[in-house]
Symmetry: C5
Subunit: 294 residues, 5 copies
Amino acid sequence: MPWYQLDDASDPRLDELASQYDLHPLHIEDARTKDESVKVDTAPHYTFAVFKPVRLEPDPDNPGEQMLAFSPIDIFAGKDFLITISDPTCPTTHQALERARRDGDDEHPGKLVYLILDTIVDLYFPAIDHFDDRIDQLEDKVFDGPSPEILQSVFAIKRELIDLRRVLVNTRDASLHLQRDPNTIIDTDHQPYVRDTYDHIARLLDSVETQRDLLNNTLDIYLSSVANRTNEVMKVLTVLGTIALPALAISGIYGMNLKGLPFEDSPHGAEWVGGITVLATAVLLYALRKLKWL
Amino acid sequence: MPWYQLDDASDPRLDELASQYDLHPLHIEDARTKDESVKVDTAPHYTFAVFKPVRLEPDPDNPGEQMLAFSPIDIFAGKDFLITISDPTCPTTHQALERARRDGDDEHPGKLVYLILDTIVDLYFPAIDHFDDRIDQLEDKVFDGPSPEILQSVFAIKRELIDLRRVLVNTRDASLHLQRDPNTIIDTDHQPYVRDTYDHIARLLDSVETQRDLLNNTLDIYLSSVANRTNEVMKVLTVLGTIALPALAISGIYGMNLKGLPFEDSPHGAEWVGGITVLATAVLLYALRKLKWL
Amino acid sequence: MPWYQLDDASDPRLDELASQYDLHPLHIEDARTKDESVKVDTAPHYTFAVFKPVRLEPDPDNPGEQMLAFSPIDIFAGKDFLITISDPTCPTTHQALERARRDGDDEHPGKLVYLILDTIVDLYFPAIDHFDDRIDQLEDKVFDGPSPEILQSVFAIKRELIDLRRVLVNTRDASLHLQRDPNTIIDTDHQPYVRDTYDHIARLLDSVETQRDLLNNTLDIYLSSVANRTNEVMKVLTVLGTIALPALAISGIYGMNLKGLPFEDSPHGAEWVGGITVLATAVLLYALRKLKWL
Amino acid sequence: MPWYQLDDASDPRLDELASQYDLHPLHIEDARTKDESVKVDTAPHYTFAVFKPVRLEPDPDNPGEQMLAFSPIDIFAGKDFLITISDPTCPTTHQALERARRDGDDEHPGKLVYLILDTIVDLYFPAIDHFDDRIDQLEDKVFDGPSPEILQSVFAIKRELIDLRRVLVNTRDASLHLQRDPNTIIDTDHQPYVRDTYDHIARLLDSVETQRDLLNNTLDIYLSSVANRTNEVMKVLTVLGTIALPALAISGIYGMNLKGLPFEDSPHGAEWVGGITVLATAVLLYALRKLKWL
Amino acid sequence: MPWYQLDDASDPRLDELASQYDLHPLHIEDARTKDESVKVDTAPHYTFAVFKPVRLEPDPDNPGEQMLAFSPIDIFAGKDFLITISDPTCPTTHQALERARRDGDDEHPGKLVYLILDTIVDLYFPAIDHFDDRIDQLEDKVFDGPSPEILQSVFAIKRELIDLRRVLVNTRDASLHLQRDPNTIIDTDHQPYVRDTYDHIARLLDSVETQRDLLNNTLDIYLSSVANRTNEVMKVLTVLGTIALPALAISGIYGMNLKGLPFEDSPHGAEWVGGITVLATAVLLYALRKLKWL
């Protein structure tokens, strides 16, 4: 059974294969669309599948951080032919095709499709783990002290999770389609394997939901921390004002060009007034504390 | 097969066509309603469809910005006739009808309907891209500094997305109806094409959902930025108060008309007291910093 | 075919009609319940329907504003009789019964029921438009400046929308029941008309959902405006404090009864010190601006 | 037909009845569980039902307030026997059993079950009305002025509504089970009555949902009122600061021990300086108002 | 009937049993995966089940607190064999296996599976009660005074509930699978028992949902308490400022080196000015109170 591997959907050889194996023009158009979405479509004599393997690569915007990148793989699987179109530089795709070549055999194109899908799904797990680590770090950081950078990271991860979730939902629907459609290339022997892959995707989606919950928690922690800190700063300001008040008021009074103030002519006037000021401050602070205002 | 193109549903020729081809009064009423909604309805001998092509046009309220505008197209497609009613000034409708005239043929009114629908759906993508750009700009702006204008833009886009989403949901239901209904004008050959269009609408709706999520993120960023800034301003106020406090208190004390203050008669009294004031301020700032209050 | 119109369900004639046409006791009980909910129930030999026409009437709590009011109409429609019970002072009910009398005929009680339902549903649209206007006004007002009155209006409209939504959901279910139930009074000819009414209710519900979204937007705008204004007021306070600080500190210093201050004995001391104060204030404001604290 | 009424599920007579009528051990276990949940379960020869009648009783934590209390009733209804287990001190249960004894008859155990369920469901309405009153009061109070006590009441009602909603959802499912299950004790004649009860429960659940919405509104009003008041207090502080500023700055300047100040030696110096101070304050307040900062 | 109990899935004896009883390689792989999820899968000649018993153990991060821990149990149940793989140190698993050994019999492997599942499900209730206690404590604490530690506990419990909910949802699906699948090991006699267990899990899930609601309430209380306290502190600051203002302004005025001030030369000047200051302060406080600004 021939297996054609093309590196690029714009390759003119795809047109030749399309006419040789009677591939539907819509599928060829899909394969050549930039930003195509994951799906499985069954024609009477072959199955067309698009998957989106994920890989982690350095984030150009945040040095030291990694980001998700997807490069689609297109598969045309007939009874007696297999055409795969994939970016040869993507390590995830490379690994998937290697495993299919090693463990598959020519008699069962369905098994080859399963092996490729299974490897792709297994390689989503490191991406999920990567998010787990980053969310854990963010949560620790936000308890130490909220900063706008943390917020930016929270929203960046939210954005990546939105994308990952969309790919996973489509992959889940595609694997269900592979399982259920009677026309599909997957034979009865391999149905339990595809169902197992389906379970894995369901678990991945579960994890993504959990991570969205955790990110929302982090955001709530952030907002309540900021509210808390504003509250703390206000209290400091109030304590400072409370300490300053008696000193300012009393020293203002004794600065007046008036007659008749107590201790005015006493030689220890400063000591007396100083003592009264300290006492008034202490009483004021104590009263605020008692009234639970501080 | 005759193709009647009317520019306005109030055209009396529509009444003539209605009696000639036995069109249902409810459909004629629908076509003449202002603000009709997208739908597909199948009568025994023809299919009635309303679509809402979108176009971008300058926003009168925000010079330099673009906004979405919809102008409905009504289609009556029978086995042996086609009636379209559409605003001739709308470029999207114009493009859809052009493509139908060029690629369709008289034998298959279903193909004509498909071609019109497909062009309309394809032209929703630039609208989505337009929102993507605006949301990206808003997100950048809000990280630079929150302002009420950003907020107003966020809510304006939310409003437009609510409208777009409603049109897309109805278009999706209409295309499903075209696919499933056994009475429909679409023959078996063109079913996969309509299914492909359905997939495109589903992808568009997915994007709209993502954009709503992103707008909510932007709103959260806005609110947390304002909270953060309030916190920052409070800290400035507290630092200023802290710097002022010792100077005010000590100078107040030495302004009192009392006897017995230290350095009162020293020739370098001002230097001593100035030094003590600076020292007290430094100690206070250091203490607040240590106690993590600033 | 006799048509009995009662103005009040407590009318004893209802009991006579109940025994004459064998009406189910539960239906009589329902008709006599205050605050009954919208529904359609089919007995073997007749159909019982409760609808809730809406009208706008002056709001006693907010002079100059209008509010929604509902007065239920009960319908017992058999093959050979029609009983309607409705408040004769409600203009919406009056209009619905007028239209049924004018356009209906004795042979088709189902058509009479359809005409009544259709008029009632059409008269929900002005209520929706009324909310659209009020929400638009609120949104404009909230951008001009948030006030507790706006908030009170937002929550009042939310409350009314909750009620309207409940009535519409029940009316939609009732119209579905009329369409689907094989026992129902509506014959095959009038099914498309009831389906059309169903579509109208679905569109009304869609509008209510949109309005709830818009109200939530208004609430978000309100809250972020208040946060923004607090932030603005804080900044004013900080600017005032910053302007006052050097003047207070320097004048305090020169108010001290100490020797050794510069310019103390200069004849132009006041000019020098004044100049230094203005300069210090300007430097401080400039520094805060540079550090992006204001 | 014998009707056994037990006051307590731990009564040993229940074991005798269980062996006499062959009751399933799981049902006996359920009846004896503390905090059992509402359900209907059908064995081949009898129907087992648990309902939770509600009553209002004084709240020990909040004198003057009432709270909900539930005491379960267990029913075993066979063709030729009825066993009820219920707390004899609960007035709701008492009323339900009274009505069953009065209006039911021995031939139809299904009617007895219906009468008990119907009375229990009818007596949920006063509980809902009770919440309506309390939520109305809270909403009025929160507009008068937010206080932590209001908040505590909001969350207390939320908690009670969570419990009530759970009981109602289970009761709705139980009544659906009574209606649909072919094995059930309810005969065809009484099906419409049970459906009517089902409608009542659906309306109750609708009211609970509305009340949850209204409580969330109250919470939003609370939070926005607090934000508003903080804003108000800030403005007062700023106005006070603005009024004080010129007086403090100018009096500070004239308190300096310097020469060369204007009006220094004028006999009406105090009047001049006082006038300038008042003027400066007025100009400052006017400027802030113009700039929309206050 | 042989019952094989393995303490660890990596035991080589599992491979022998796998070949002896023809166990599916995917099930063996699942049993050996770390972090496997709860499920029931039916092969033609046996049923494979994974459950996750819960236990409470001391939390290493929070001394004095307890946390949930799960250790999975794998079950292979055929007509004539039972293989269980479980951590022997987990008390919950131990209790489940003990009960199965005591109450089960060799003829019914289905009953053994039911007994294990039922014990596991019953032992989730103490975990739920544990959360109930902790949430009650947190709610009391948050009304006494909000602190970041409370927030940290709220989010820690949210995280644990997310995990527990996932396990329960999967256990519910697994028990439904045991009930419905015709291939399953559970015979008709034991179906009601498994349905009873299903009801218990549904009740557990209900409790988890309630607890999530209560935690969100606690978070709302926290945030509104912080907002309230900020408001309180602001008021204290404003009262202090109001009290200080007249004293500072008046004493500043009398500190000026100017002539023409009233009471300047009066021997009781200090008393007069003091009286005026106190009066001005009282009037100001009264005015703010009247204007509802405090």
